[in-house]
Symmetry: C2
Subunit: 303 residues, 2 copies
């Protein structure tokens, strides 16, 4: 199968490309720039362009059997600063992609959604896919609207759509500039001898998923005929305090976190129920958190 | 209180203006064109402009205490034809309005949402406001995203936001070109001696609300300090067959409907639970359906 990976040079995208290649697929990547954190792969066809450039996206679709849409021009923590740009770039951009696929007769699309933001404060934990979508930030509002449109295009325009609602991915090649995951941000600060800042008392619980596990599920899912929404998480909750203990073990560094006032945007506990992905794909996360964090630190030290 | 009514020359807007005036408020209307179905009111300040013209909207905000946002550039039945335009006009346009209000320090906004589309196929009937939002068409997807942003702007930017989720409004001054309500469309066809077309077997149940009842609730709600979502319906379900029986009684015309295949977009039963509006505003619909339909027909015959 020939797969177009939009956003394939990013953190999650580059791992998905690895898994697609390992499963024997042919891969074309569309992204703004080449991979920054490793040399490009000779067996991959790279097309550089902006997701906002509709004609460039259409050109990139030529001859592919399926599309993986991993692009977000915004981050959960910063999208609120300008919701209009978030909607323009990501929602309008995605509708352009879907319309182009309909026009070209390309039916299959996997969309990387966000299990950490589409549900909002959960009624129950672990959160099943049937939980109401009540996003409280722009990032989640846009992902939710895109999921609604995917369902609509499936019912009314013949697309075959699947959304993977990822929890908190971490691992090698994640940026550590502070806007993405806490694990890479903390590891980076430890390396630089900086203190770790904790918002609140460190009791906030998240579901951390190694990027390789997430990428494996995405590669399986796009090649299947399954549709609708699937949670992708470890199914396990880990508090910030527990993360810091693991970081201390892995790095051998004594850590004295600096506690700051809690942020209103942080829900107390977010853990995904992943039984649907287990049942339909025989998938579950395999990388234990201490092992995954150690591998991430190794990778970081080799940069 | 000085209220800006965006979309105040439309079907629902013109009735809301009447109720605002009756309650002693000062009213400015912003709309694309003057009212088509009656002469303009001397006590109202009219500003003509497009909701997509951001600077015109900002100008219209000067000096008002509250905003009622009733504009939709699309209809439920037609928005699916071009979701990109639906998002651009209505979602992006609304974000521009909200940002302008934040900048000008105008806190209060009432948004006219859609109880018939934001819930999607309901799990329970009558539908309470807490029901998950699972819209299946573009009109409902955009209304849902706007409601999510209203909640976000309330939490993070100091706006005071309320959304009225109207059921199926009908009454005098409703267009009868076929894209709006079934009651005015049927009445118009009866007047013209045309047959009535029924999609499906006529068993589809909807919650019909006289526009004057809806307008009364909106006028009460904008002047209150209540926030969040409120259903606005009669709380009663009426089937298309029952509507046709009432139409026959009101008009004295024998009616032989033409049955056509059911549409996939029609959910079987949609009735709103209005206990929240009753509890918080002491409001409930007052116009019985036969009386309201008779008044609508009278109005139509006088045009």
């Amino acid at each position: 199968m020939k797969v177009l990976v939009i956003g394939g040079c990013g953190f999650i995208g580059s791992h998905i490309v690895d898994h697609l290649l390992a499963q024997g697929h042919s891969v074309r990547v569309f992204d703004r720039q080449m991979e920054r954190l490793r040399t490009s792969l000779p067996e991959v066809e790279y097309i550089l362009g902006s997701f906002g450039d509709h004609m460039a996206v259409i050109d990139a679709l030529a001859g592919v059997d399926a599309v993986m849409h991993l692009v977000s021009t915004t981050f959960p923590g910063t999208a609120d600063l300008n919701p209009t740009i978030d909607v323009q770039d990501n929602l309008v951009g995605t509708l352009g992609l879907l319309d182009a696929m309909v026009g070209l007769g390309i039916a299959r699309i996997l969309f990387l959604s966000s299990g950490g933001t589409v549900y909002g404060p959960p009624d129950i934990v672990p959160i099943p896919e049937s939980h109401p979508l009540r996003p409280i930030n722009s990032y989640g509002i846009v992902k939710t609207a895109i999921e609604h449109y995917l369902d609509m295009y499936r019912r009314t325009r013949g697309l075959s759509t699947i959304a993977i609602r990822a929890s908190n991915p971490y691992g090698p090649r994640q940026a550590h500039t502070g806007v993405q995951g806490v694990i890479s941000t903390y590891l980076s600060r430890i390396r630089e001898g900086q203190p770790l800042e904790v918002w609140g008392d460190g009791s906030v619980v998240r579901d951390y998923l190694h990027v390789s596990d997430l990428a494996e599920l995405c590669a399986l899912a796009v090649a299947s005929d399954k549709v609708g929404a699937y949670n992708a998480g470890s199914g396990q909750g880990t508090s910030i305090r527990e993360i810091i203990d693991i970081l201390s073990d892995v790095t051998g560094a004594p850590i004295e976190p600096v506690y700051k006032p809690g942020r209103a945007i942080d829900v107390a506990r977010s853990i995904l129920d992943v039984s649907r992905a287990r049942a339909d794909f025989g998938w579950e996360s395999r990388v234990p958190l201490p092992e995954g964090i150690a591998a991430t630190y190794d990778w970081m030290c080799r940069q």
